[in-house]
Symmetry: D2
């Protein structure tokens, strides 16, 4: 695959700094299962990054981070409220239902963000034994549609949730992209607003594997170590997850990587709308670009694999930029599109 493909940011490899650190530190023996010296360092770094006392548990991937985060907050007779486009609802093959046994209430949204007034419509039937009891709101930051919740929007959702004694979970598979867009610290955006637990993504932004469950509400972490083990998410050679996060946070590598991806998305958006009959369908805030394309392009063989078809009916496609997307990659993509229009 010579060209970069823009289908998703997980087509990319590993940040060179991360790979080098893994190699450099690959010697000697370490206690496994999260008790190695690097994992202890990692815990300290996460506390610094969040400027708060947090509990951190690396797991295998983003789906696992989502499901285990939520499993620590609710029971099977509860329901989870989220956007209709949320990853937990559409892209995890029913993992939430299988692993927790709870119901998902998916809320319609045009931009990937759920609004307090819409959420509140579903905060009903408390105490009715026939109904799954609402207990958690899950939002994605940045969203699956490339948009970003403002701090105020998150604050309102958290306030609503806590008023009804619900928890708030953030699917942060692309949290770095959101932070960079908002130019805000994670403390400001997620700790101060009262979020309870985060799926802290790294893989899409240049790690090899191993997103983390980060508890801001550390009471919820009380028995999490057993949940992680029983849900098959405890790694023996844990040092290699810790090492990734250690280098990820060093010298703002994570924010720089996300910043670059966002910049590339902005560039792509700016240029692609110059082409006739191509229009943005979502505003570009993080590293994703959603556009409506001429059907001819959608079906062009030579463009096959260069974007993700979001909705074939409306000719809407998604481009995602990565830490390793270059201006040159974008220029080649645009050229290819122009050639095929």
């Amino acid at each position: 695959m010579g060209l970069k493909c823009f289908c998703s940011d997980n087509f990319s490899g590993v940040l060179p700094e991360v790979m080098k650190f893994l190699t450099d530190q690959n010697f000697g023996h370490e206690i496994p299962y999260g008790n190695d010296s690097f994992s202890k360092e990692m815990d300290i770094i996460f506390n610094k990054v969040f400027e708060s006392t947090v509990d951190v548990y690396p797991v295998y991937n983003g789906s696992a981070a989502n499901i285990l985060s939520i499993a620590s907050c609710i029971s099977s007779y509860n329901s989870v409220l989220c956007s209709e486009f949320s990853h937990i609802n559409t892209d995890e093959c029913g993992a939430l239902e299988k692993n927790i046994g709870c119901k998902i209430i998916s809320i319609p949204t045009y931009d990937g963000k759920i609004k307090p007034q819409d959420i509140e419509n579903y905060l009903v039937n408390f105490n009715n034994v026939h109904k799954s009891q609402p207990k958690l709101i899950s939002i994605s930051q940045s969203t699956e549609l490339g948009t970003v919740y403002s701090k105020d929007e998150i604050q309102e959702i958290c306030d609503l949730a806590h008023k009804y004694k619900l928890y708030v979970h953030v699917d942060g598979a692309r949290i770095a992209n959101a932070l960079v867009y908002l130019d805000m610290s994670i403390n400001e955006l997620l700790v101060k607003t009262g979020v309870d637990v985060i799926s802290f993504g790294g893989t899409k932004n240049g790690l090899m594997f191993g997103d983390a469950v980060v508890f801001l509400n550390t009471d919820l972490a009380k028995n999490f170590k057993y949940i992680r083990k029983q849900f098959l998410q405890l790694n023996s050679k844990s040092r290699f997850q810790a090492l990734q996060f250690l280098s990820y946070f060093k010298n703002d590598l994570w924010l720089n990587a996300a910043s670059h991806a966002n910049e590339m998305a902005k560039l792509l958006a700016k240029e692609i709308v110059q082409i006739e009959n191509i229009t943005l369908t979502q505003i570009v805030e993080a590293n994703e670009v959603f556009v409506r394309l001429p059907r001819k392009i959608l079906n062009s063989d030579s463009l096959d694999g260069f974007f993700y078809v979001w909705d074939r009916n409306s000719s809407e496609v998604r481009f995602v930029c990565s830490f390793d997307t270059t201006e040159n990659d974008i220029m080649k993509l645009l050229e290819l599109i122009r050639l095929n229009i």
Copy 2:
């Protein structure tokens, strides 16, 4: 941790050849979720190694390989028969029960190996609606007690299982150590005998993460891709699992690594019994050494962390050798023991 610690082989790091290969191949974009070019190569290599048509699915760790292997074979109303010492019974925090909902029937054994005549005692109550229906026999090769099933022993278990329409699963967390001990190909040992599915371990023998479910009975793999996804075991940047296996199999790296670990265990066993009041409690066939120690050693501060206490009551401890254990490590260990006796 200056000294190697012998607690378990997962205290070790990553084989340098594997780490180098990961680094060398870390460029460009690849399709995620198992559809990358390296995963396709990996499939081919596995077929070669097994000299048979097999279906291969990397997952996060050994527990996941075990649980998902078994989940593909049975229903919640079935039972799994295994040794009382088997990892699925004692070391996975109830993952089998949680994820499959089935019952474990644990069979007593003095050497970690379950015997056909013992197993057959539990092959009863078929068609009795009140009883979990036996459907799978799981054996560990090499066992949790460092012993190794002979080909004949496996053949007898497979014959018994298939006579009663049960499946056979092999927990191969340390399969390479068994193969090296028996000096036998995996085809000879597991394919020809009729094993249905294997947890093919690599982590304990020098990989970073990612054991694999290998179906020999490929009918069982029909819907496995959904199971893997729903059980949170599908990795996006799958190439980095494939790359590990590619280098693991290159130039017999895996067998050489296991061979070295076995040799070191043999050396340790030979030397340690020279020390008075230390006796082997299991024969040493793979890379583990079980001994009864004077209680003084068991409780010695300066030896804390150098072995795993298997049974405090009987002063039995376990030493495990890794691909990176050296003769020097062993000599230092012995010296330390002698100093404290």
Copy 3:
């Protein structure tokens, strides 16, 4: 509770003929767990009623019949398609998700009936590992909105389902009311059209407890006895369920009971719309009457408990007639409404 209350048909007691039969046959010993002589008779009667070879398994209640029916057809990675108003979606506290682990896809409908063209929109993403795989369509007959699918409508849904290799389940909590309305045999309506499995309700139509799972596609029943036991739905003194069904089917008791309830609903509908500002919101086909009422009535203390508030926002309420509803009950209800308007 002097007056009948119209909230639901399960406010009623047991058909006197059924209670008498239970009493008359209450002597001697019988083999438990479905192996009694009455259960064998019951099996024969069900085969006669269905004019087909069917497998019958009584369970505790309608929710259990629904969940166990579906559990016998699908895996956790599958999805179930149903109306947004279906009982499995809205009134079982997430039982489908908890017990099967699968996803529910709820389809919007204005009259409780899902339409093939709407269903087909959701028959997508086959073979996509990230998506729950559609495997079963569940319809309610009669529906939760008191409407009844015609034979042609069921035929079209079955044809669509089987074209895509999906199963069809019918939630028949009120199946007798539908049959009476259509004046059609269950063979004609559900066997000939190709339905796979039915929750055969009886409780709402005058039994004490114990709806039945009836497999028309008997291949699906192969391991059902274990599922019933493990899901806690196997009763020891099974004769008392069999006895209920034996008397239920005797002299068309079941159809007469449903016929009466339907007639009462028709009468209520005819009379209630004579009252000003009360309008039907659904056509009345079975034993339920949905109307929009003046808000004053909705909130009237003296009418509290005489209807079920379906949607407070739109002042829509539900009345349900039972086997024991009398014309007098209806006249008293209407009078009470008129007094409060």
Copy 4:
């Protein structure tokens, strides 16, 4: 089935007093799902019987009472300690594992009763993430071997449990038989000793269906209503469960029924040992008689169905007496045995 069969007490029908009460009270409408007037009465009666504040939830059967009791106390990463012969371990087709996802630790016992010193051996590995965490001790009273724990024995188990922060569950499928044997109130035996939750059986002692979960530790009942619904154990026409318990407790009907069954067992035991080569294998305390029989009897066609073969290898069988067993039934049974010896 002319003769009574002694296989189990659930071969019997319904106590005539109970059936009559069901018939007499079968009129009018009642609020369903546990909110009827009889259920409220039932709650009061249970509080009286227990001489304590308890929370009562009828469910379908004994297995359901066991599983739901335990589900309210523990998480999937916990383990349940019980006798190897306990119903939850051997006779529920893996329901505990399926519905809760936890591990069962079965403890060997020769008389069905587990001893504190044996239990304590399993109270280990707390805080070890690889091990299911012990959280509940379940005992059966009377036991599956017809024996009865004394108050002191229960007190010791409760003290041990609470010392380690475990809960105590009593499988009381035959609780009345135990109370009668001990001539003790349930308050004295189970409330004062500190039991947390009971499966309060009635079916084996003459009810039609519907054992109850009774919480003595009412904190555990906080969310139980949702668990009952989601586990498919909430009955709509709940009055018919309440009515059964109301008549069960009236005039000590329950204790009289159990007393009779115990007496019959004592008589059977006394007489059967007069026959040569028949010996008791357990002391007879409740309503069960365990004996070793000549193999000829075990295999006699004319005795087929008159006892339950407990262990074919050792020619051990079980006889159970019911509320409706008569002296005449016993004499006929003994005669039949003598004829075949």
